[in-house]
């Protein structure tokens, strides 16, 4: 479904992604794990067009995303839950969700998607008139997920959705991710929480300083000595 081929991304002189390639198959949860600063966020931003690679291409449904303006990419079926949530703080919860469906014109379907999101996240329904900036961290994360779902993505990019959340909430978020995937959305999940990510993923990549150093099924990586040592705390 998505193929990233030999992508090089720079921040000025900093070479952040070095010939990175990865593959996301339809229906899978693919996870990209790695330490802080490895280039995970850079990878997702490059896929969604916020950053442009110097070399390489990114093929999604036969189109090269590198040649498409960033605001058009969500319309192709890719939406993102950005790192740090990035909800629109002085807009209401409902308005944030509406922004997720900004390009959609199918009024009825949008309404039913909104109701599905409210069923999934009843807290958001209770707080739909509240400003997003007044929500707790966990609620904001749910809002960011809901907002991305409002685009009806075929591929959902998630950047550290568990960051800064209490353990109980982390569990809940991962259960939600699994459920979204079971309902038919392909997911590329970036995580520092390697253990949780590997436990729900089909396939995994390990990123180190802008390079993929390991890849395989999530099962394989979970039991790989190198991964255990570096990312699973022994």
């Amino acid at each position: 479904m998505l193929k990233v081929n030999n992508v090089d991304v720079y921040y000025g002189a900093i070479h952040a992604l070095k010939g990175l390639s990865l593959d996301v198959e339809l229906g899978n949860i693919v996870t990209l794990i790695g330490a802080n600063g490895a280039g995970k966020t850079t990878t997702l931003k490059t896929i969604s067009g916020l950053l442009r690679p110097k070399n390489g291409n990114i093929i999604f449904k036969g189109k090269d995303l590198v040649k498409i303006p960033p605001e058009k990419i969500v319309g192709l079926g890719i939406s993102q839950v950005p790192e740090g949530r990035r909800v629109f703080s002085t807009m209401s919860v409902l308005e944030n969700l509406e922004m997720g469906a900004y390009l959609r014109t199918d009024k009825k379907e949008k309404q039913s998607d909104l109701e599905n999101i409210f069923t999934r996240f009843p807290r958001l329904k209770e707080r739909r008139k509240q400003l997003a900036g007044t929500l707790s961290g966990g609620e904001q994360q749910m809002l960011a997920i809901g907002r991305a779902l409002m685009a009806r993505p075929e591929l959902l990019l998630m950047d550290e959705p568990s960051m800064g959340l209490a353990p109980l909430l982390v569990k809940e978020i991962f259960a939600i991710i699994k459920d979204i995937n079971e309902k038919g959305t392909t997911i590329l999940l970036v995580e520092q929480n390697a253990h949780m990510a590997l436990s729900i993923a089909d396939k995994a990549y390990v990123l180190e300083t802008g390079k993929i150093v390991l890849e395989g099924s999530a099962q394989e990586l979970m039991h790989s000595e190198a991964v255990k040592k570096a990312y699973l705390g022994g």
Partner: protein, 293 residues
């Protein structure tokens, strides 16, 4: 007391004018963090467009206003495209200097083609009448300015709060990257912001013409600066702040001329700017959170 009420009423129409201009400053700042110092000149161009549409085509004042608003909306979009867009990634100071350049360009292009001479704003378009109500003298021009400014501000609020475009404008000014991820075109949204801000300035230009009865190519400088002070007073980037700031500055100015010495009215307004910058740089409505991370 009556005297005070009278000054307050006089201040309301001037304040409405400042508020309309301040809105353009604040909206543009909110979305691209640029103080568009050419904004006062857009107001001036609006006054001239109004002047000619009345004196040449005999337009009704409302028609002249709409005409000026459309012309300035286009002018604002063109200025942004040509002068500011290429500097999007540049330092703020580069954009600021460019804005001052655009401002001088508009002033002296107008001087060149239309002469530096001041012109009498056509009285045919607006017959001034004064009414005495409960001991207060109220002019129909003050009422016209105040009411049309309120209508424009209500329309603006509606656009920003309720329409898809307005929500996109808010989203881009809150978090540009997140807005792009929603599918919002940043370029288009910035253009729309310039169009709306400039059209409000054009309406204000017509009002300045009615208020002072004369227009000239440098008429944008002082009201432009005062409206900028108003925007900072309300909290730059905050739309309701610009409205409140505009009215406060307008009323302050008339109170100073009414009770004190009208020679000091400009000095007092700029004194306010210095005071805000010292005491609360984020303005009345701004949160003291420092820079956004």
């Amino acid at each position: 007391m009556l005297e005070f009420m009278q000054q307050l009423i006089n201040g309301l129409s001037l304040g409405a004018i400042y508020a309309l201009i301040a809105l353009g400053y604040t909206m543009v700042y909110g979305i691209i963090k640029l103080i568009n110092f050419a904004h006062g000149e857009i107001m001036m161009v609006g006054a001239y467009v109004g002047f000619f549409s009345i004196s040449v085509f005999g337009s009704h004042i409302i028609v002249a206003m709409l005409f000026a608003m459309i012309a300035c909306a286009i002018l604002g979009v063109i200025i942004e495209k040509i002068a500011y867009r290429p500097l999007r990634g540049a330092t703020r100071i580069a954009a600021l200097i460019t804005a001052i350049g655009v401002s001088l360009f508009l002033q002296y292009t107008t001087v060149f083609f239309l002469s530096p001479q001041q012109r009498i704003f056509p009285q045919t378009a607006f017959q001034t009448k004064d009414y005495l109500i409960a001991g207060l003298s109220i002019s129909n021009k003050d009422v016209f300015i105040f009411v049309s400014a309120l209508i424009l501000m209500a329309i603006l609020q509606f656009i920003i709060r309720k329409t898809r475009t307005g929500k996109a404008m808010r989203a881009v000014s809150l978090d540009r990257d997140a807005a792009v991820l929603m599918g919002i075109s940043v370029d288009r949204t910035i253009s729309i912001t310039f169009a709306i801000g400039s059209s409000l300035a054009a309406a204000a230009g017509i009002m300045v013409g009615i208020y002072y009865s004369t227009i000239n190519p440098l008429m944008g400088i002082l009201p432009g600066l005062k409206a900028f002070v108003a925007a900072v007073l309300g909290g730059i980037g905050i739309v309701p702040g610009a409205m409140v700031g505009g009215f406060l500055i307008g009323i302050l100015e008339t109170l100073v001329s009414g009770y004190g010495n009208s020679l000091y009215r400009d000095a007092v307004v700029f004194g306010v700017l210095i005071l805000i910058l010292l005491v609360k740089p984020t303005g009345i409505f701004g949160k003291n959170t420092g820079e956004k991370v």
